[in-house]
């Protein structure tokens, strides 16, 4: 655990690092080791787990917060709706994650306990920034011991603040760093997703419209030939849901997905017709 000196192996990376050895070179054997240029490689590697997973996009719209996840379907025999990435953790709060999915279950469980205990102790709903900070501390704790590994997750927190009277969007990365966002994107092709988000005028979108835009962005950034098929998962919390976090109803979700896909096709056709001129 913590405090044990790192054993450096001569000439190259740790066990199984193989072709990646030039990146870690022995400084990546545990969370308790800094590299000479000040990186903790294990946290970076956890970030890679997120980067290689399906996209997750959150938007703070004018009447609430909506988050969507591109759930890559590894197996055609998988039933729809199984292996969720979006979870309510209290009446007024929900989280979504992408990355190393097995870690997600632990985080959801921890978040549910935190929210429940806070309500029990303090008699009020856990405000979004407090839940985010607690989860951030939780993620961070797993980066401080040599015997642990960081969570391979990026987590979005969408929750209602009853003093401010609105819902807020936060995102936490594997290091435990967290910020409050107007719009956030992570996972595959997140840079392209962020570019698309910046084109939106979020203050004029409702969560229904935001949902469609998220579906559109996911379809835009995907490469249909290369990427695995996906299920579009989403959750939201808004004035219309009475500020309760819920999974987006199936028909609404499928509608938004269809809209997004159609919009991408329309834009491609427009591009094609422009080229012809």
């Amino acid at each position: 655990g913590k405090g044990q000196p790192a054993t450096r192996q001569a000439g190259g990376g740790g066990r199984g690092a193989g072709k990646m050895s030039s990146v870690g070179s022995g400084y990546d054997l545990g969370c308790n080791i800094y590299s000479p240029d000040g990186r903790v490689f294990q946290i970076d590697y956890a970030g890679k787990a997120v980067e290689n997973s399906g996209a997750m996009i959150g938007l703070k719209c004018k009447d609430g917060v909506v988050v969507g996840v591109e759930k890559l379907v590894m197996n055609r025999l998988l039933m729809e709706g199984s292996g969720r990435r979006v979870h309510p953790v209290g009446r007024h709060a929900g989280i979504a994650f992408t990355g190393y999915v097995a870690d997600g279950r632990a985080v959801v469980s921890a978040a549910k306990s935190e929210v429940e205990n806070y309500d029990d102790y303090y008699g009020v709903d856990m405000p979004p920034h407090v839940l985010t900070e607690r989860l951030g501390h939780y993620f961070h704790a797993y980066t401080t011991y040599g015997g642990y590994r960081p969570f391979g997750l990026a987590t979005v927190v969408a929750a209602y603040d009853n003093e401010k009277g609105e819902a807020f969007l936060h995102q936490i990365d594997p290091a435990g760093t967290h910020y409050r966002y107007h719009g956030c994107a992570t996972g595959k092709a997140r840079q392209a997703a962020k570019t698309e988000i910046e084109k939106l005028d979020l203050s004029s979108l409702t969560v229904e419209e935001g949902l469609k835009r998220i579906a559109f962005i996911i379809h835009t950034i995907r490469e249909e030939e290369k990427d695995k098929p996906f299920e579009f998962e989403a959750g939201w919390i808004s004035k219309d849901t009475n500020w309760e976090f819920e999974l987006v109803p199936r028909d609404v979700r499928l509608e938004a997905d269809k809209w997004g896909k159609k919009r991408v096709e329309e834009m491609e056709m427009e591009d094609d017709s422009e080229d012809e001129d």
Partner: protein, 243 residues
């Protein structure tokens, strides 16, 4: 005086019979060890109340602390702050209520630090309730928690002996409160102004102090609103009502 149980058996089981005496008879008859003031322990036999108005609350209390028939402190302050805009009125054992309010003050402070803003009054009441309920067999504490927050405005929570927590437009407590239930019910109106509310509190408490041997001295009031906390003091010879 706190050990006499005459005249209280008829009040067993009635809602709002918050005298230490009445409840002690009740729990004794159930066979459990009832919380009692120990020999020589200081008693906040008392008249306390808190009333919410639009934009804040008024808390009020008498100032008598007795040990048996001896008045240990005739000018005590039973209105105790637990945060910037949250106060509590204390009745029952002085030691128990001081210990509880000290703990709640610390916890509220830590909570507010994490929260980054003023806590809800409901949170303070929830913390009071936690201790009053979990340790009900060892404590004798009747607490009224009141204050101002952005979400609810002024709110009043009554936490009597067993550790129940009830939000009310106004609450009265302590041994003297039994004498003013009728008066308060007839005097209270919704939507009173700040001054009307303060006068209501002073008048009701002076009636309680006139009839209850365990209450007396001066009337202290605290008015809490968005802008701050305003303490007031009415000397014993200037109370609205006395014989």
């Amino acid at each position: 005086s706190e050990n006499s149980s005459s005249s209280s058996s008829s009040r067993v089981g009635t809602v709002g019979a918050e005298t230490a005496r009445a409840t002690m008879v009740d729990t004794e008859s159930l066979g459990g060890g009832a919380p009692r003031l120990k020999a020589g322990e200081v008693d906040l036999g008392t008249s306390i109340m808190a009333v919410a108005f639009n934009g804040g609350v008024v808390l009020g209390a008498d100032s008598r602390t007795s040990t048996g028939t001896y008045i240990a402190n005739r000018v005590s302050d039973k209105l105790t702050g637990v945060h910037d805009r949250v106060y509590c009125c204390r009745s029952g054992s002085a030691a128990d209520t001081q210990a509880i309010s000290d703990i709640v003050r610390t916890q509220l402070s830590n909570h507010a630090t994490e929260l980054g803003r003023l806590p809800a009054v409901k949170t303070a009441a929830s913390l009071f309730q936690r201790y009053c309920y979990e340790y009900k067999d060892r404590l004798m504490a009747g607490i009224i928690c009141a204050g101002y927050d952005e979400i609810e405005g002024g709110s009043v929570y009554s936490i009597p002996l067993g550790g129940a927590c009830i939000k009310q437009p106004f609450a009265i407590g302590g041994s003297g409160s039994t004498y003013i239930y009728g008066l308060c019910d007839s005097m209270w109106r919704p939507d009173m102004t700040r001054e009307e509310t303060r006068n209501f509190v002073k008048t009701a408490l002076s009636h309680a102090m006139a009839r209850d041997g365990s209450s007396g001295g001066v009337i202290r009031t605290v008015v809490i609103d968005k802008n701050g906390v305003d303490r007031d003091f009415t000397p014993g010879d200037k109370v609205p009502f006395s014989f």
